[in-house]
Symmetry: C2
Subunit: 273 residues, 2 copies
């Protein structure tokens, strides 16, 4: 390939690193790709590092040694997270979202790629230090935010199903009790989905009593793996006592008042940003 | 913010544009963000445009006029697509993926964020000129590739459910016949999910007889919207006659031979790259 100028290399480096967050690239990868000396690439990386800090996009981490290289860790700033969550609450609390039974229509928002991506970035920012091997969710509404979280953490996504499927091969099935309706439900996951001894992050869109999260915790135990974090987009204020203890929720849904045409939802103040 | 140097602006521009493919950014957005003159940003864009062409990443399109600005259209090169699809076939044809009933275990691959993203890029490359307003899929296995396609096309994703859910509000339900098992199945979608008169791209992971795709087509009709494309990752060679006509399939599954321990899957030669 034609040699690139420095400003072109900076653009190209930025693209490669930010398209593949948390993935380590060796310096050799770039010397070959850009047909440039290692010292040149080193100088480029310094510039990219400065840029990422100036724009508060996260961190560029350089790892020395044989397995060394460089990676981009996207970290949202406190301000960006606050602004995003406030906007999201405004969107979600629009009164035409109230559904019979005091539910809130939110799938349009949950499935919007850019919104799911931002939510994924917030979870990834929060759980980045946990050494996560897999993100797990249960079908269906939580899949987009879980996938985006997994993309940013650069790990596989695992989706537990409500029913056993032939396309999953042999499965582990567990029963769990929905915390709010007290109904017994089933969850099914392919035996091949999770390796023993790995660290798992549970992601879901909504938590009321926490029965589903508890079910996923039990499922993970069946694989001799360890849950190192639980992140949900929205948890209800009541019941305050959930079936799982250690979770973070980005938003709190206080109540949906059908008669008064009002949804009360706000960012979780306990979220350590 | 501190003023950025040219090479930093190029890096930042590249990041913003490639993080948000097919989204139009005004020049004003960048003059304000980077505290730079419009003429400076124009020159920067020219450099980014050249870079994107040199690296065969796609196109930078500048739109003039009041609603004008600049956007990045990721277009994978023929070579990149071929290489990716061949790698994917190698992965999928590993004999330990054969499941009883001559199914293939592939959820680990379908749910891997970077793989789903590449598949999304291929679909987006193929359907970019269709003026798509929504990507639609049916739960569950196709969701990751459909979400990534929607992200790259910068449009919302719509997910039809197998059952009616209270969280969807009033729904449209249709019955359809599975083309291979001849069983009657149901599909449910919120009335709010699709606006009239819009253009829809159907994305799914697998097509045998095409019953599910046909069902989604019927669903879209109920919303007075138009299907402008159908993309599936894998279609089976038999039956050659599917229930939908105009679809593209990235891979063809010829057969799974349980006794001989062999999966025969290859890239679709008819895919116009």
């Amino acid at each position: 390939m034609e040699k690139l100028k420095r400003n072109e290399r900076i653009g190209a480096l930025m693209k490669v690193l930010s398209d593949n967050p948390n993935k380590i690239y060796t310096y050799n990868y770039f010397t070959e790709k850009f047909n440039a000396a290692k010292s040149t690439i080193s100088e480029d990386i310094v510039i990219v590092k400065g840029l990422v800090e100036k724009l508060e996009l996260g961190q560029i981490e350089t790892i020395s040694g044989a397995a060394g290289g460089v990676k981009f860790i996207p970290i949202l700033s406190k301000n960006d997270i606050e602004k995003f969550l406030n906007d999201l609450c405004n969107k979600l609390s629009s009164k035409d979202r109230i559904l019979p039974g005091e539910f809130v229509y939110m799938t349009d928002i949950l499935y919007y790629p850019n919104i799911a991506k931002e939510i994924g970035k917030i979870f990834a920012t929060h759980f980045i230090d946990k050494g996560i091997d897999y993100v797990i969710t249960v079908e269906t509404k939580g899949i987009p935010i879980a996938l985006m979280t997994a993309e940013i953490l650069n790990v596989p996504l695992v989706i537990t199903r409500r029913n056993t499927k032939v396309t999953e091969g042999s499965t582990v099935n567990i029963n769990y009790v929905s915390g709010s309706t007290k109904k017994i439900q089933t969850m099914s996951l392919s035996r091949r989905a999770i390796k023993e001894g790995t660290k798992i992050l549970i992601i879901d869109d909504f938590m009321k009593a926490g029965g589903t999260a508890k079910g996923m915790q039990d499922m993970v135990k069946e694989f001799n793996a360890e849950v190192v974090g639980i992140g949900v987009l929205i948890s209800t204020k009541e019941p305050q006592q959930k079936l799982v203890d250690d979770y973070i929720s980005l938003l709190i849904l206080e109540h949906v008042l059908e008669k008064e045409d009002r949804i009360h939802i706000y960012p979780n103040e306990l979220l350590r940003l």
